[in-house]
């Protein structure tokens, strides 16, 4: 039986990859269109929050 802490680690790896992807795309987008930075930031935070909800849900259900 794999202990839940390993599952937590897996979730963090998955969440980290996802957040990294969001962050890198947002940075590229802001670099291309600095005037749209605030809109991109808001969208980035929303997607980040959705991802975070998923990851935290998994962490809590796993516990």
């Amino acid at each position: 039986m794999i202990p839940s802490i390993v599952g937590a680690g897996l979730i963090v790896i998955g969440g980290g990859l996802g957040l990294g992807k969001i962050g890198s795309s947002a940075m590229e987008a802001i670099a291309r269109q600095p005037e749209a930075a605030s809109k991109i930031q808001t969208a980035m935070i929303i997607i980040g929050a959705l991802l975070e909800g998923l990851a935290f849900g998994a962490l809590i259900l796993g516990k």
């Binding site: 794999i2 202990p3 909800g53 809590i60």
Partner: protein, 371 residues
């Protein structure tokens, strides 16, 4: 893109190798943990303390002297509805050591919950070590309720001045605390309500959005004070907040919202039958994720802060007292700044997502062909 995939594959390969190489030790570590379960070690005591902090309580404890077994603070009133109203102070429980008798019914306190019991205070357990005794209907003024009431008072004091200025005239400059709050009110209006709900409909939702924004913000911030509140880190509180958003969406939604859930336009009929249950599920997952996100963020933040403070006790022998206090203080300070950011960010995200979901439900769809 293919380069990305290659590096991702390589990462996963390394990960699998590491996982397989440590797997044999994982079961051993668990056995060792079972053997030491007899006497609580320092770290077990600390995690019990953190768990206790994260839960609601009938006492308001500022600090405790464990060696002398004295807790400094005060107990809060217990209000039970169980064949009539029963009000008494939680100090009568003496931290769960005594049972309390009211009108012939005995009550016992165990792990922060009140159970009906007999004169001896016997509690029966099921196979999973959960207490099976009946619970009375509990309307007590607990620690979280005190936190909520305190927040209500703070918000009232802060906002009454701001509201009065606008009553005199729309162009008045607010005085005192209102001057600092006005930008935040405008932030909620201009960054969340108007872009997400739309200029024609945002006004009726502003009272709700402002209320949840400032309620969550102040609750998060008083959670960072040493008073020991953990209100937004309680899943019942966040459930209630998410339910408000849920009901506002359901009652304010227009016919397009329901059409898009049960019979979405522009999709083939077999697909509609497949998608409808998913959309119905989506109705509930939106507030569910709101609930879980706020709860998990604040709980995680409190656990991390308390865990870092616990470094003082855990590394006392390795780092000397001064060293462990220094390391703990630097790390705690760092995390506390992040927690200040999180306190604001979670209030922002909860309000933002609420306004987004409300906006999705009340929006007019003029362009049906685009679906």
């Amino acid at each position: 893109m293919s380069q990305n995939m290659v590096s991702l594959k390589r990462t996963l390969k390394y990960f699998a190798v590491i996982l397989l190489s440590v797997a044999p030790f994982l079961s051993k570590a668990e056995q060792a943990h079972d053997a030491s379960a007899a006497a609580p070690t320092e770290s077990e005591k600390i995690s019990a303390h953190i768990d206790h902090h994260l839960q609601d309580d009938y006492y308001f404890t500022f600090f405790a002297d464990e060696e002398a077994d004295v807790k400094y603070g005060f107990s809060l009133p217990v209000i039970l509805i169980d064949n009539g109203l029963k009000v008494f102070m939680a100090s009568e429980f003496d931290y769960g050591k005594k049972t309390v008798e009211k009108d012939g019914q005995f009550y016992a306190l165990s792990h922060g919950k009140i159970y009906k019991t007999d004169a001896a205070g016997t509690l029966s357990y099921d196979d999973h070590h959960h207490i099976t005794n009946a619970k009375p209907l509990d309307f007590s003024i607990t620690k979280n309720v005190v936190g909520l009431l305190l927040t209500a008072v703070i918000l009232f004091v802060l906002f009454i001045g701001l509201a009065k200025t606008y009553k005199k005239g729309a162009n008045n400059l607010p005085k005192g605390a209102g001057r600092a709050l006005e930008p935040l009110v405008l932030f909620v209006r201009d960054e969340m309500a108007i872009p997400n709900i739309g200029l024609s409909k945002y006004k009726q939702f502003m009272p709700y959005l402002l209320s949840i924004f400032f309620l969550i913000l102040v609750l998060n911030l008083i959670g960072l004070t040493p008073l020991g509140f953990n209100v937004t880190g309680n899943i019942s509180v966040t459930l209630c907040l998410a339910l408000f958003t849920f009901f506002i969406i359901q009652f304010k939604a227009n016919k397009d919202y329901w059409k898009h859930i049960f019979w979405m336009p522009g999709v083939p009929v077999p697909m509609k039958i497949v998608l409808a249950p998913i959309e119905v599920l989506g109705m509930f997952t939106k507030p569910f994720s709101l609930m879980l996100r706020l709860f998990a963020n604040i709980t995680a933040g409190h656990s991390v802060v308390m865990g870092l403070i616990a470094i003082v006790y855990l590394f006392k022998t390795d780092l000397t007292v001064g060293g462990s206090v220094g390391v703990s203080m630097i790390l705690t300070l760092f995390i506390m700044f992040i927690e200040l950011l999180v306190a604001f960010l979670q209030a922002f995200i909860f309000t933002m997502m609420s306004s987004l979901f409300i906006g999705m439900a009340v929006q007019d769809h003029h362009d049906e062909d685009h679906h």
